[in-house]
Symmetry: C2
Subunit: 102 residues, 2 copies
């Protein structure tokens, strides 16, 4: 039977029923995002990554801002959330700034 180590604070859950295809005694860790950093690499030298936008200076009718912390054009969205969601089963998406109501 496979057992998961419940790492307090890391937000990993405990799973003790048999898991198909996993050898006896294997350790499985099911990571849930609760206690895990969400920004792997963006501006890690900064204590807190805060961006501001002067909305009067927006040039396009619609500008998408990243909220998945994987964009190559951060703080702007470059669609990286699609790959992230697919790889992790997450459902994050951008913040869209619209100059006018449609």
């Amino acid at each position: 039977m496979a057992t998961v180590v419940n790492m307090a604070g890391f937000g990993f859950s405990c799973l003790s029923q048999p898991v198909r295809g996993v050898r006896r005694g294997a350790v499985i860790v099911r990571a849930e995002a609760e206690g895990v950093a969400i920004n792997p690499a963006i501006r890690k030298s900064e204590e807190k990554v805060v961006d501001s936008v002067v909305v009067a200076e927006l040039s396009k009718p619609l500008t998408a801002y990243c909220r998945c912390w994987r964009s190559g054009t951060f703080p702007l969205c470059d669609g990286s959330h699609v790959k992230h969601n697919k790889a992790t089963g997450d459902n994050v998406g951008p913040l869209l700034l619209k100059k006018q109501k449609e």
Copy 2:
């Protein structure tokens, strides 16, 4: 000596040198955010959480939008990133929408 299980795809790293204060043979998992979902609970029934803001309708000079996926007032920021950063060593912060340049 303590060894970390390197779980391919989960973004956990391999750490095989001795770790102070950890009993021999202990399993340590150092979670890095690469392969982990970042939104634990916000609108999980939605396939992708996208929010849009008509900037002409912003009421306050400054409005903070959440990027840590922990705010109780999502999509608006309620400061939850402070607790998240402290608990995980992360450095995420909000997107600030300013009506005018300062």
